[in-house]
Symmetry: C2
């Protein structure tokens, strides 16, 4: 089966978890429906084509798979690229929460395709926030329309997670431009034939700049200069990867002939702040990619399980049952569906916080978005790995055969926990930078929000909720204690204990927050039923939230214990690893 | 880096967890060292070659990758194929535990290669146990030497997990032979150029046989008949797979020209019992494959983490540290190493139970092996997926690039949870068939064995054990309660509740049993230290067991809750999945 845009669930989650950011529900539904059509009809059919065809590289040129150019043209012509961008530059000015919902569908249909606008969006954010008026006037409308996609040129072979080690150099020419020289690797969509021009955003170091990350500057380096001539840069090769084969991962050489021409974005040596603007937008959207591919894998596995007949389910009339009738297969499918729904809630919630940061809530919402971004990125993409692997499992032997397509989801998803800051980096960011925000008040407020969801369940007399309230309450209290532990460890003379617990802490945070999101959908579904709505989806939403609470949320206790173990392993890790 | 045979850890685990089955430790060390040399020097260098080259198929013939034929010849010439087989047929008559240890190394070095002898071993078991003397005289020594490898022809497109749906037909000719006609899929090493002959073991159905699995018979169907002529069978194609690309996965057509000639193994319509003999041996060895590939992935990730420098670890003197110094990376590597060690202990323990079944313990050991086999298979291979995925993660962006080799481990490992009975089938087997053995006495005895390990820790005054005793005790009690729940659910009028909890129950069983295995290695290491041994590996073994207990075992509580939730989801699963 091919991808079906889950518009009803997306809209329900937006309305009852994240909020629609002032958009009229009917308008939102119309936008989502249209986006879903594009995703299902235009992008999804290219997903397998792209995986098989890849992006041949020859003589510095990259050819995208058949159909890719037309699809990109259709995508940009519809105005989808700049959905949440500033109307002054041709954007639609819609909330980021709605944009994230649409991005889920692009990526569910075709992850390798969705990556191109994702990176452009990061470029838009960086340029809009930090760029000069002149630079914005020259490039922003092209990025917003998507006519010229953007790239992020950060990584070098010696500088991955550690950008302090960057070596690419920039020299001022004197006319306001800079000469950029250096080699970058892992540049997604660094070269391709989707557009006439590509706008590279490049981190580089000025001569005499301070060492480390305080000496990094961000430059805009277009493939084609204003006079139509080619800039001094080229793609020197592409990687042979595990997945996202239709998304070219390029090595880039800048300045073979003396230096590529670049323009400074923001101030000299302040490139890290610009990069974080670009990166934070991208990090959330990578989480959204995780939701998209998890949804696609879940749909495919569910459809297969409804068709494939093996064994007789207990109580079944016929000799063989569709495997979806077997409890063990149901557990796999429900796990896939519940994790996907939880990650969706978290990502939309994070997007909504970004929207709210521009409203009366201001700073508090901005900080909330900062807190939630690493969770949205890492939790959603860890789950994407698990869900897509379960998708292979549900297909049995067929799942291992590439023709089926289940394995592609797993291969494609595997990059999500690595790029835009590995999930380990996200965990360290959450514990080390985000928990201390406002003396811990930001995280405490978020935990209070989760606790209110648990209390909402407790107060509701709905028997279908089962043990949902108790399990969510247990998760929230685990998270609360683990948070205190992490904050205390950070303030102690053994901060490495906090870092050692950072990964299980992030998982605990995501697991509990996801439970709170599902609790809100369950409460909303119960209220709708009480109000007389007969849509059977409401009972399904309650059952899904209950499954999550009773079968997945109980992991919270073990995660808390792992956090509280306080990295007792760090001192003897080398010994243990040497065995 | 390439594979390094972990001979010291393997021997330590054999000695202190599983037992050496009467083999002198020095002899065992000599055998393991020699096997490790073959694995590292001959098999490991072919692993990437095999992945890239695959097994081209043309005109019914399959060509193995360059070097494969020589390696197979070296392997069989060394007598490794029949290590645990009957000396009367040319085997070495060594314990299965030692055989499993060697198999771990073949598979760690080269999973696609290791699969060929694994299947032959299943054939040896089936023929030795159920075959007529005539058939054994004709084929068993060839299988034991490996001169003629064996295959298992079970699956058909409509019959995967459900063998009752088999359609391949067998007709008696009257001269003691049968004519076999039908189509099989997913036949590993169904055709290749490693040997002159291939011995296919084929499940088929006699005319007028009872419906379902009681009407299945097992046949020996050689590729080449005794007179040197080709049998009426052919490979009709191979699959394009996610991994194990050097292992040809064949579609087989039997009887295009009137029927392939086959000989009955065991009795008519009793093929299922023969198949289970073959399958059980293979299931354990698939678990061992999981241990092997997890070990290989762990070695590779550890070596990379020791080389790659990014970021400054807390308290480090230099500006950049090897990433192995970062607590978060340590957690990943220790998780990989601890899971691998736990799975190793479980697999060897299972093999030792099979050995003990032939000794004075007899039936009780046989039943113990029956109980442990699904755990060894499913837990080890689920962990292989997790460990190999972590291996990709440790490599960062490089992990996603195929050239690195980390992704191959992950791709190769993905089949292990699917073939020889999916891990869902293993979970159902454990709960539905194995827990009730001897009225629950078999499982209770195994839990008592785990409890004794926890008590051993409690009694030891070793401060380096940390919270190991308490955590293991917690796991054992969780498993005990979950076992009672499963047994009660099976006996109730809602047996589907037991099946619904089968997967988390198996995970809980493996997690706790693995903890008990590691506790035994830690106790042995502490005793050796106390006795004056200065090998730093002892401290490492204790630290690893402690890491497992404090960071991974705490998941037991959540798993117990999931089991005890009793499949409350089964009634509304369809509703939830329809959303």
């Amino acid at each position: 089966m091919s991808y079906r845009a889950p518009v009803a669930e997306i809209l329900f989650t937006l309305r009852h978890v994240a909020g629609l950011g002032g958009v009229d529900p009917e308008d939102a539904q119309a936008i989502l429906t249209e986006a879903g059509r594009l995703a299902a009809d235009v992008l999804a059919p290219l997903n397998r084509v792209g995986d098989r065809h890849g992006t041949p590289f020859a003589a510095g040129r990259v050819t995208t798979p058949p159909g890719w150019r037309d699809a990109y043209a259709t995508f940009t012509a519809g105005g989808w690229n700049g959905l949440s961008a500033d109307p002054d530059y041709g954007g639609q000015g819609l909330p980021k929460a709605l944009d994230a919902a649409c991005a889920e569908m692009w990526n569910g249909a075709n992850l390798a395709f969705g990556l191109c606008p994702l990176l452009t969006q990061g470029g838009i954010e960086a340029l809009a926030t930090h760029g000069s008026e002149e630079l914005k006037a020259r490039y922003l409308d092209k990025l917003v329309s998507g006519e010229w996609p953007a790239t992020m040129n950060l990584t070098e072979s010696q500088a991955g997670s550690d950008l302090a080690l960057l070596r690419t150099r920039a020299e001022p020419v004197g006319d306001g431009t800079y000469r950029i020289t250096g080699a970058k690797i892992y540049i997604t969509y660094g070269e391709h034939d989707l557009s006439e021009n590509i706008v590279h955003l490049v981190l580089a170091r000025l001569k005499n700049a301070p060492a480390g990350t305080r000496g990094i500057s961000l430059f805009l380096v277009p493939k084609i200069l204003q006079d139509g001539s080619a800039n001094d840069l080229r793609c020197s090769g592409i990687e042979h990867k595990l997945g996202i084969n239709a998304s070219p991962t390029c090595s880039m050489a800048f300045g073979d002939d003396g230096g590529a021409t670049g323009w400074l974005i923001g101030q000299e040596n302040k490139g890290l702040a610009c990069m974080f603007t670009m990166m934070n937008a991208a990090r959330l959207m990578v989480g959204v990619q995780g939701v998209g591919v998890a949804e696609a894998a879940t749909q495919k596995a569910s459809a297969y399980a409804a068709e494939r007949r093996q064994g007789k389910a207990i109580g079944a009339a016929e000799a063989t049952s569709p495997i979806i009738a077997h409890p063990d297969v149901q557990r796999m499918l429900l796990t896939m569906k519940a994790y996907t729904a939880a990650a969706r809630g978290i990502c939309y919630l994070t997007a909504a916080a970004l929207d709210a940061a521009h409203g009366p809530e201001g700073r508090a919402a901005h900080d909330r978005a900062s807190l939630l971004t690493p969770v949205a990125k890492a939790f959603s993409t860890d789950l994407a790995n698990e869900v897509t692997s379960l998708g292979v499992q549900v297909h049995g032997g067929m799942g291992f055969v590439e023709e089926t397509g289940a394995a592609q989801f797993m291969r494609d998803a595997r990059i999500l926990g690595i790029y835009e800051g590995t999930n380990g980096i996200q965990a360290i960011d959450l514990t080390g930078r985000k928990l201390p925000l406002n003396g811990g008040a930001t995280v405490r407020a978020q935990i209070a929000w989760m606790r209110r969801a648990a209390e909402g369940l407790l107060k509701s007399p709905e028997p279908a909720f089962g043990h949902m309230a108790a399990r969510l309450r247990g998760g929230v209290e685990s998270l609360d204690r683990a948070t205190s532990h992490q904050l205390a460890a950070l303030a102690s003379n053994r901060p490495e204990a906090a870092l050692a617990g950072a990964a299980p802490y992030l998982r605990l945070f995501g697991l509990t927050l996801g439970g709170a999101c599902l609790a809100r959908t369950a409460l909303a579904a119960a209220a709708a039923r009480k109000a007389g709505e007969t849509d059977p989806a409401h009972a399904g939403r309650i059952a899904l939230a209950r499954f999550y609470a009773e079968n997945l949320l109980p992991a919270s206790g073990g995660l808390e214990e792992a956090v509280l173990a306080g990295g007792s392993f760090t001192e003897e890790a080398a010994l243990a690893l040497a065995v």
